[in-house]
Symmetry: C2
DNA sequence: CTAAAGCCTAGTAATGCAATAGGAAATAGA
DNA sequence: TCTATTTCCTATTGCATTACTAGGCTTTAG
């Protein structure tokens, strides 16, 4: 699995915050309820996003989370790379594993490199604002 | 990680067998030595490939493994899907997990679907013969 | 008959994922 | 200042998967 729950939840939460931007700071409790995700688990994920300055968190009454940039300035790729650690499809391309001893002669390395580029390019081409549904977040009634 | 050692090893072994096609049946011992993979671990992987009829295995003296089709008739995608079980980038798209309850309204589902198609289409477009190096497998001397 | 090979079922150690627990620190409002 | 609310931080746990090992059985050629 390339993307685990951590990355999937993170993306859903970012979209949620983008959709509810107008409401100002949103407390974790509200996001967790809306998205059906455990509050405690979400805490970890949001902490990661805050530390990377993708979100701003504020504590205390009236606190909560808010995006630090407009939605069109977030790519899905950066959100997932941050929360997943890496989007490399195989260990061979992962940072720590700096090329195995066979990389010079490996007949399959190019496949992995191409795949890696394909994945990252696609995900870097999708921005948060493209994932906002037109009428979500307004609590409108027909 | 989308592809684990099992899939990576399987692909390398398939390429190895494609390169040494001319030598007839190749014993596991030889492949393992050439590829630097534990014999016992390789056994599992080769068993999977044999059961799926991608390889033919024969026991006894003079036995070993051989491809059942010409290299251009194997795609990387089918080899990896077989050995990995699935190439789905997220659990949401995996067979057993038949769509979560939120799939109707999930703003991120399309991203995963597109990514899944991208990955599978690319890997299904690469065939074994494209991975054979021109001069490998001939033990030539300059 | 024997050596060389694949086949089969388990088992295990290590890793990473998903989630939980408990409290400390900050903030707004009464 | 007190209290409720909310984020922040560190650890821990249960579980599943991955990577690999062990041991024995069966088949085949010479």
């Amino acid at each position: 699995m390339l993307v685990s729950t951590k990355g999937r939840y993170a993306l859903r939460v970012m979209v949620d915050l983008a959709e509810h931007q107008a409401a100002g700071r949103i407390p974790l409790k509200e996001i967790a309820a809306r998205q059906g995700i455990s509050e405690k688990y979400l805490e970890n994920i949001l902490a990661t996003l805050v530390r990377a300055n993708m979100l701003s968190g504020m504590r205390g009454k009236g606190g909560g989370y808010v995006l630090t940039r407009p939605p069109e300035q977030y790519t899905v790729g950066e959100i997932l790379r941050l929360t997943e650690g890496s989007l490399a499809p195989v260990a061979c391309l992962d940072g720590d594993c700096k090329g195995c001893s066979r990389s010079d002669e490996c007949p399959t390395l190019d496949v992995w490199k191409n795949l890696d580029k394909l994945i990252n390019d696609y995900l870097d081409g999708v921005t948060l604002d493209q994932l906002i549904a037109p009428n979500r977040g307004y609590d409108y009634v027909i």
